[in-house]
């Protein structure tokens, strides 16, 4: 019996309120991206394809560029670590923190950290770890999970946030005015910054030629968090390298516009390494942890284009399935189209657990159309469906296709079936004991069968 897909089942369970928050927020993001990108670029495709080719080149020579980046970073006084798994990365970060006697830190938004669940790990190990990005801070207060790459709380509305602030004692009373919420969070967080002994960040780009690292934020939280602390640790996926600083002109022009419909994010931070002699503040110690965590396996697969991703979330915003189901439906850090490709791949041997994600798409191609690095996401989803089938991963909702193939390769059988399909017009097919057919027809009226009529007309007509 053909069952239902998990993501479809999940989509039925979410409240209308949550679904509207997600779809309204996502649609607004799509609209803003379009306006800003197309206002500034007559043909953004040229830029998208250039960005894709730079990323492909880098990935093709990733070993060389990583070595180059390491050398450049070291020459700036940065300590560089390589972590092959998420556990390695967590242990590396923990031992750096312990070496500096850190018991409290602030962390700016990092998908890499989300991917390996760094926060709970550090807290378990006795380190107070405060999210300083407003959205992530609210996620932390609610013990929730981010549901979008750049808008982690896209699934929440301001009334829920106001309630959380009241419950957690961050605000004395209920107030759901967005500006008031932000001011209250700011007042609360400000004090915490000065107690922290280290700052953890991700990185949007690392330039291999100079070792300069770039962070794009809208709240200035990573910059603020770094100013008073002696230690900065950056957790960076190995695919974040770009060859040259000047390539940033391509990527920065795409990142803000694609992610939030901004020409640039409010803060674009260039990090040159630890504090130099003539700088008044900033961390004296800086560590960069380059994390693989399955990425070299992805690089070796036939879905390597997904490593071009610059985590803008444009594919999530535009995806009609994401809008209906929310990011949480994808049971992993990365939801939406990018997640449906990336997560099952990053899961390695545990691919079967998430092999249903690539099926959660009508293959409409909107994700590819908006992707700043032109990732052919529908093609990758199809390759993963093929992979799941070849590896005999059980799928509750697979419609067996071999009968179809037999019919579609036997012309006379096919013609007979077409003519016979007319019988449907006289049978109560709604009661046929085929669950998916019943479900389909429960919502839709099927047109009348005209099986074989065109063939008959074509054969018997007089040519005009």
């Amino acid at each position: 019996m053909i069952g239902n897909q998990l993501i479809d089942l999940y989509a039925r369970t979410i409240s209308d309120e949550k679904q509207h928050s997600v779809s309204d927020g996502a649609a607004a993001g799509t609209e803003k991206r379009y306006q800003v990108l197309h206002k500034d670029y007559q043909n953004p495709d040229v830029l998208r394809k250039l960005a894709a080719s730079i990323k492909d080149h880098t990935l093709h020579h990733l070993g060389d560029y990583l070595a180059k980046a390491e050398k450049a970073l070291v020459s700036r006084g940065v300590k560089v670590h390589f972590a092959s798994t998420g556990d390695d990365a967590k242990q590396t970060i923990l031992s750096i923190l312990q070496g500096h006697g850190v018991t409290s830190l602030t962390k700016s938004k990092s998908m890499a950290a989300e991917e390996i669940h760094l926060n709970p790990f550090l807290i378990e190990n006795g380190i107070e770890c405060l999210e300083s990005d407003l959205g992530e801070f609210i996620i932390q207060l609610d013990d929730d999970i981010p549901s979008h790459i750049v808008k982690p709380i896209i699934h929440k509305n301001r009334r829920e946030i106001a309630k959380t602030f009241q419950r957690e004692g961050i605000a004395a009373d209920y107030n759901d005015d967005p500006e008031t919420i932000t001011r209250r969070a700011r007042a609360y967080l400000r004090e915490k910054y000065f107690k922290a002994q280290a700052g953890i960040t991700g990185a949007n780009f690392v330039c291999a030629d100079t070792g300069r690292m770039l962070l794009a934020t809208n709240e200035g939280n990573s910059r603020f968090g770094m100013a008073p602390v002696p230690l900065h640790i950056a957790l960076v996926g190995i695919e974040k390298i770009i060859p040259r600083e000047k390539d940033l002109s391509v990527f920065l022009n795409l990142l803000g516009r694609s992610a939030t419909g901004q020409q640039l994010t409010v803060y674009t931070e260039f990090i040159n390494g630890p504090r130099s002699a003539n700088q008044p503040d900033g961390p004296e110690h800086m560590h960069v942890v380059f994390m693989d965590n399955g990425r070299t396996d992805v690089l070796a697969s036939n879905c390597r284009e997904i490593l071009r991703c610059i985590r803008c979330g444009a594919c999530q915003n535009v995806c009609p399935v994401y809008r209906q189901a929310s990011g949480h439906a994808y049971r992993s850090t990365y939801g939406g189209p990018v997640g449906a490709v990336l997560t099952p791949l990053l899961f390695g041997d545990r691919f079967p657990e998430l092999a249903d994600l690539p099926k959660a798409s009508s293959l409409c191609g909107a994700c590819n159309e908006v992707c700043p690095v032109d990732i052919p996401i529908p093609d990758l989803l199809l390759r993963l469906r093929d992979k799941a089938h070849r590896e005999h991963v059980h799928s509750p909702a697979a419609i067996p296709m071999s009968p179809f193939a037999i019919l579609a390769t036997s012309p006379s059988l096919w013609r007979t079936a077409m003519t016979m399909s007319k019988a449907m017009n006289h049978l109560p097919i709604q009661v046929a004991p085929i669950k998916p057919l019943q479900d389909w027809l429960g919502q839709r009226t099927l047109p009348e069968s005209h099986g074989g009529d065109f063939r008959k007309w074509y054969k018997t007509r007089k040519k005009g």
């Binding site: 053909i2 239902n4 897909q5 993501i7 479809d8 089942l9 989509a11 649609a27 799509t30 009609p320 399935v321 209906q324 189901a325 099926k359 959660a360 798409s361 009508s362 293959l363 409409c364 191609g365 909107a366 590819n368 159309e369 093609d379 199809l382 390759r383 469906r385 093929d386 992979k387 799941a388 089938h389 909702a397 697979a398 419609i399 296709m401 071999s402 179809f404 193939a405 579609a408 390769t409 012309p411 096919w414 077409m418 998916p436 479900d439 389909w440 919502q443 839709r444 009226t445 099927l446 047109p447 069968s449 005209h450 099986g451 009529d453 065109f454 063939r455 007309w457 074509y458 040519k463």
Partner: protein, 251 residues
């Protein structure tokens, strides 16, 4: 995935009628023949044709879909243009088929890819007809759903230009036009809830603009949308673009 670059030289074409037209929408295949013949083309319909193989391809059963694609490539062998009244089947021939054969390219499959045209793209860019001498009897507001599988092709522009050139026709914009209707073939069966929600949203946007008819280039999208609309008590007249070209010409 754009249209074939070479202009068709001769005046003969092959029609890939699509399985949906074979089963339900005979008049769409018929309109395709009538319009192409009106334009001076002779249209052959190879009778051993079945389906392009997309249902199995999208399901990830590439061993099955390659067999169907191979059959199609044999049925449509030769060097004549293959015209299909569906953006989705055109995309399967032109792109999907190459994807599922990327490890073992097959010359017959590649040849089919290079010769396949979505019919409106063929009329507009292949033959080069940039306006349509048709007429609606009274002012007609048309909502055009572009169909996702025509993304990145010239079909959308071709349809809009040809429809807009018809006397008394107005192509009206509606909200979130870039969004999918939610059909997606087997997707609508295995993701019935999400598919239905997507289709309902699409209908909301279309019906908000109070069109006289819905038009498309894929009967699959139109079957899904009109089927939902009937069950929701808000049926909407719908036609394939090629039917509009024929009907306005004859009237």
């Amino acid at each position: 995935m754009t249209h074939p670059t070479a202009r068709p030289l001769g005046k003969r074409v092959l029609l890939m009628g699509t399985c949906l037209c074979d089963a339900f929408y005979d008049d769409v295949a018929r309109a395709t023949v009538e319009v192409l013949e009106h334009l001076g083309y002779s249209v052959d319909y190879p009778e051993d044709q079945t389906c392009c193989g997309q249902p199995a391809f999208n399901s990830g059963e590439w061993s099955a879909s390659r067999k169907v694609a191979k059959h199609a490539a044999e049925v449509f062998a030769g060097d004549l243009p293959v015209i299909v009244p569906s953006g989705s089947c055109a995309a399967m021939n032109r792109h999907g088929n190459l994807l599922q054969h990327e490890e073992n390219p097959d010359p017959a499959i590649t040849s089919l890819a290079n010769r396949t045209w979505e019919v409106i793209d063929f009329i507009f860019n292949g033959i080069g007809i940039k306006s349509w001498p048709g007429r609606f009897e009274k002012p007609t507001r048309i909502a055009f759903h572009r169909s996702c599988h025509s993304r990145g092709t010239h079909t959308g522009e071709a349809v809009r230009t040809l429809l807009a050139s018809i006397e008394n026709a107005e192509v009206i914009p509606f909200g979130q036009q870039e969004q999918c209707c939610g059909f997606g073939g087997t997707f609508s069966v295995t993701f019935p809830h999400i598919s239905g929600q997507m289709g309902t949203l699409k209908l909301d946007h279309i019906l908000d603009t109070n069109p006289d008819m819905l038009c498309g280039i894929d009967m699959s999208c139109l079957m899904h949308l009109s089927g939902l609309a009937i069950n929701q008590g808000r049926p909407i007249p719908h036609k394939h673009t090629i039917q509009i070209l024929r009907d306005t010409l004859l009237s």
